[in-house]
Symmetry: C2
């Protein structure tokens, strides 16, 4: 009992609330409270930290009204940023890169539309309007906009689950456009409400697992085209696809197989060369269009349909027809459209933002996530009214764009123009393009999504990240696309909660010759301080972990006492909790701290806190009950001062 | 660029990977890596920290086999702990407290059964078998076991939603027992699987809001009995109850109202007296039974049923009949029974554990949460086979038990005996007991659950806890019991995720005369160090916050540079990140750190880390790519050494 009461008696007149001993020779510093704030002020501050961490308006400070107008225009339409300084040299680079990505975008557009069970022409439409809108609104200079594989796959999968694209093609198309519209609304509102951090909840390991699984699912689906099978399962699961493939061997067409695999090998070799030598990026960039041209020529010469090789057939000429009248906001399928919109919206957003950030950091400029979301959202909303389905910045085409030397969003305009030209004049040429070549293009595109090396690295560095990755992978492969995604996000969340629920507590020891106290399990040279048990709590103290922490700290005390008896060392007198990492404390946590202090007091053990951060000391202070228990002389600025002050007091004890 | 390369050149042969400069006069300490562990070892350690934080087997260490057997028996059946030392004096205390709680348990048992829409006798059955089982298995000395209001309310509410207790009483009873069985299974398995921390997820603010809302709902329901209304709504919501009350004014019976409110006032006065003077606890403890006796006598004399006062009527004599044959594990309602079991199971568990812990800490002994869960679970499983519904330790009766001086679980045995005596011989006496008195008893019991003062304290200390509390309160009151609970748990979780998603970053300054660096917003005396920007990150770095942190740190750098230009101070050279509170780092976090380092390098700004904790340095080291970027000389043991070492290097720069 003596410790606390002695101390208080020897110091009857502590006038300032948090003052600490000054009668001792050593200098003890107060733990300061942060300046007082009103409730409104602190709410306002949390609010602005939450929604405006990047302080988007800072550039408007101290500017003339005219300059402010210009800045606002530039802020809303990034095109005003670079347009005034645009020149012929930049334009030349952009034309080259724009044409390069167009050669990719045309075959990929047709293929990805097939992945979403949509008519091939929708893929071209989607490579025309959205890139133009993005060029005006988007802030990334390297993003190549258009349909992407993952979002196409998921949209096709979710819609086909309830509506058959073969039996009810108009309804299916309506739903696709409506889902695209909702995807756009969702994306734009995330950006507008500055909730962009939502996409961060899909962690990279999760995405890698998810994309790997989806790539395998997509590739398996392509076996239909690659083997020339006509009756194929509607399901996505590994098992049902395999059944379909080996159940219908009679439908296998050797002509199709021969053509498909030859071109697949060609495409994969091209991809491999470009991977090994980034300078030869144009080989893999040109490969798909070359394959299409080659295979169409062959198909034309041998009259493919006579040899069991299916071709695309007649495609309508002309630009995007308006489709606003096809949007449907009522009826039984509205919830399906909304759900599909949200899932594809978030997936495509994640891809677009990640691509934008990657290339921005390579070229050392900043992409504003929230603005980017609004741009992508508006682009999709406009797209849904002009016969486009979900689009975003594509990983593969943006990489080609970057490698081809794109300088500004003009490369997207060039690409859109090339697509326009194709739609106006070249559509009849696709009549003989074999379907099998589209399957080969899809496989060669998605194969790059399987990132085996990163998975191995995850296993080495972080087992839990690896687990999340694997769960996403197998979830997508064997359960369903949505479930895989849900499981992976769940595991990532769970990981955060676990860390908060079962935080580390470590014993600190003094590093000889310094005033630092460090983890004894980490620093071999750290030494125990007699009479003291110094613990560091490596987590905020919340309702989810306060009972655990109480038990765990009591166990440390018990173990230390047992050790002391075994080693015949000096008796334990004081427990110091290093609170540096306790960055938050809720009411349950405060109660547990007080309870622990009282329980230890009864055992003549003193409990003192060292180095509480601003909001913890503030909260301790605000709760009269806790403050009474801890008082001013159980809280020190650092462990060193706590040890020095408590041990000088111990000397005065009987 | 010079900083890093200079440093490396001057130190070509750093043999140990994490060695730091030694050519300088100041002493720089290595940041140690914790000792190497195999994957298996680290998984084993995390596992045991997660499931066995209390090291439950420590008492078995170094004991003889016989002693081990005794300890094991004591561990499994806490009765062996105290039974050998039990004596007459303890027994006397236990008899007094046992009879006191029996006088509460009998009227409350009958009332709470009504709350769950069960026959009153089930309430008495439930106060007989479970206390006996708990006395053998339970480790709390003060818990008074029996039916409780919240679990009764929720069970009644959830079951009545699908099955009418009036039209289908047998099915309803079956479902109640089955739900009780599942509650028991759920509770016991939580304990057995050592997942007891699940109950911690219902934080105290959440519970206070929830219980306050439920108390009001319960009280409103009692208006049926209190006003003598016969046709009353089946719903729980505030609005529908009010409609029922004022829609049926013709059914109001003044005799019932007079009797009900008189006794309610009596009970509330008794409660108030006991609250003000804890020594007079027996007044409120005796009040319910006294009210029952008094009102029954009056009712008998005036022949109440003739005066529109409804009475309980005939009750069956005898002990609990077996009910295992009533459990039903198939059919349409199985999922309802399971759901009800889990919800009531977790609610009653939360109450039981909280009560046990509260009184254990008052008397300074430990209650093992996981063991307690198994005891409560087994008690409910056994209860479901002997005509009992969900039971747990009750807040109100345990407080009376404690105040009446209970010493061991024998008080539960005494209570059970008193209930047994009642069931065998006194049942006919309840024939004339008016229903209205049961409503009055329920109201006076639940009114104590409305904890207005704590809610006010929450508002003062912690706005987010207050918000969770209010959402639970209004959710229960206006939406539904389950939704209220869900919303509140959601908010509590969200709070944790928010703290991780938008962590604090603060600028540190040197406290003059010390080697400590502290938050400049908190410590007024802290001073900036020229050339340096020292930031502390107050959270683990995860995928959810790494993009935010990158943006925020870059903003700090930008603002600092602007400030320096404004104040004409010396140019910024180095950014030190204090990692003391960064207790975890995932792969996304590592990538962002490396990216930031590279981006700052390009701007000739050096980024160094100070004081990484064990698992962070380990992870940095394990990832070859990150380690290459940060290398050994960008990581220091503390901020002081980082500042000293970097500034001595700056001097050698051109």
């Amino acid at each position: 009992m003596g410790v606390t009461s002695n101390k208080v008696e020897s110091l009857p007149n502590t006038t300032t609330p948090i003052s600490v001993l000054t009668t001792q020779p050593l200098e003890i510093h107060k733990v300061s409270l942060p300046p007082n704030k009103t409730t409104f002020q602190s709410i306002k501050q949390s609010f602005s930290e939450f929604f405006f961490p990047d302080d988007p308006l800072h550039q408007f400070k101290d500017q003339s009204p005219f300059k402010k107008l210009i800045l606002a225009l530039q802020y809303l339409f990034p095109i005003f940023h670079w347009a005034p300084e645009y020149n012929l040299k930049l334009f030349k680079s952009d034309v080259i890169s724009g044409l390069t990505i167009a050669s990719l975008a045309i075959p990929q557009g047709i293929s990805y539309a097939k992945l979403a069970n949509l008519p091939p022409i929708i893929g071209l439409y989607s490579s025309f309007v959205p890139p133009l809108i993005y060029a005006v609104l988007g802030s990334s200079r390297d993003l190549a906009v258009g349909p992407v594989s993952i979002a196409s796959l998921v949209m096709g999968y979710m819609l086909r689950d309830q509506v058959s694209p073969d039996q009810d093609p108009v309804l299916y198309l309506q739903l696709a456009f409506t889902a695209t519209f909702f995807a756009g609304v969702f994306q734009a509102s995330l950006g507008f409400l500055r909730l962009g951090f939502v996409v961060d909840f899909l962690s990279k390991p999760t995405l890698i697992g998810f994309m790997g699984g989806a790539a395998i699912i997509v590739s398996l689906q392509q076996l239909k085209g690659l083997l020339g099978i006509i009756h194929f399962t509607n399901k996505m699961g590994f098992v049902s696809v395999m059944e379909s493939v080996f159940g219908e061997t009679s439908e296998w067409a050797w002509q199709t197989i021969l053509m498909g695999f030859s071109f697949l090998v060609l495409l994969l070799i091209a991809r491999h060369i470009s991977m090994r030598r980034p300078k030869l990026f144009w080989i893999s960039a040109a490969a798909p269009l070359t394959s299409v041209i080659l295979s169409t020529t062959i198909s034309f010469i041998i009259k493919a349909p006579n040899h069991r090789i299916q071709t695309i057939g007649h495609l309508q000429k002309g630009l995007n027809p308006p489709s606003a009248n096809l949007l449907c906001f009522h009826g039984n399928y509205l919830s399906l459209a909304i759900k599909t919109g949200i899932v594809t919206g978030i997936l495509s957003l994640t891809e677009g933002i990640a691509v934008g950030r990657t290339f921005a950091s390579l070229k050392n400029y900043q992409v504003d996530g929230n603005k980017e979301m609004m741009a992508i959202g508006i682009m999709n909303m406009a797209g849904s009214c002009s016969s486009c389905y979900v689009t975003t910045g594509s990983f593969s085409r943006s990489a080609v764009n970057y490698n081809a030397g794109s300088q500004t969003a003009v490369s997207n305009i060039v690409m859109a123009s090339a697509v326009m030209f194709t739609m106006l004049f070249l559509m009849p040429l696709f009549y003989y393009t074999p379907n099998v070549i589209l399957s080969a293009i899809i496989i060669s595109a998605v194969i790059g999504l399987i990132d085996f090396q990163t998975a191995v690295k995850l296993w080495k560095v972080d087992k839990l990240d690896f687990l999340a990755c694997m769960c996403a992978f197998f979830g997508v492969l064997f359960i369903s696309v949505q479930m895989g995604l849900l499981i992976a996000v769940g595991i990532s969340m769970f990981r955060i909660l676990i860390q908060v629920t079962r935080p580390n507590t470590v014993i600190l020891g003094n590093i000889p010759g310094t005033q630092s106290y460090r983890n004894m399990g980490q620093y071999g040279e750290a030494r125990r301080v007699p009479y003291f048990l110094i613990l560091s709590i490596e987590s905020p103290i919340y309702f989810t972990n306060c009972m655990y922490l109480q038990e765990r700290i009591m166990r440390w005390v018990r173990e230390e006492e047992e050790r002391i008896i075994r080693m015949k060392e000096c008796e334990l007198k004081c427990i110091v909790l290093d609170m540096a990492a306790v960055t938050a404390l809720d009411t349950s946590g405060m109660e547990v701290l007080s309870e622990m202090k009282k329980a230890l007091d009864k055992r003549s053990l003193q409990l003192v806190l060292a180095n509480p951060v601003a909001n913890v000391i503030e909260r301790l202070h605000r709760s009269a009950k806790t403050w009474e228990v801890f008082g001013p002389d159980s809280i020190y600025m650092d462990v060193e001062e706590a040890v020095a002050s408590v041990s000088s007091l111990l000397k005065y004890q009987p």
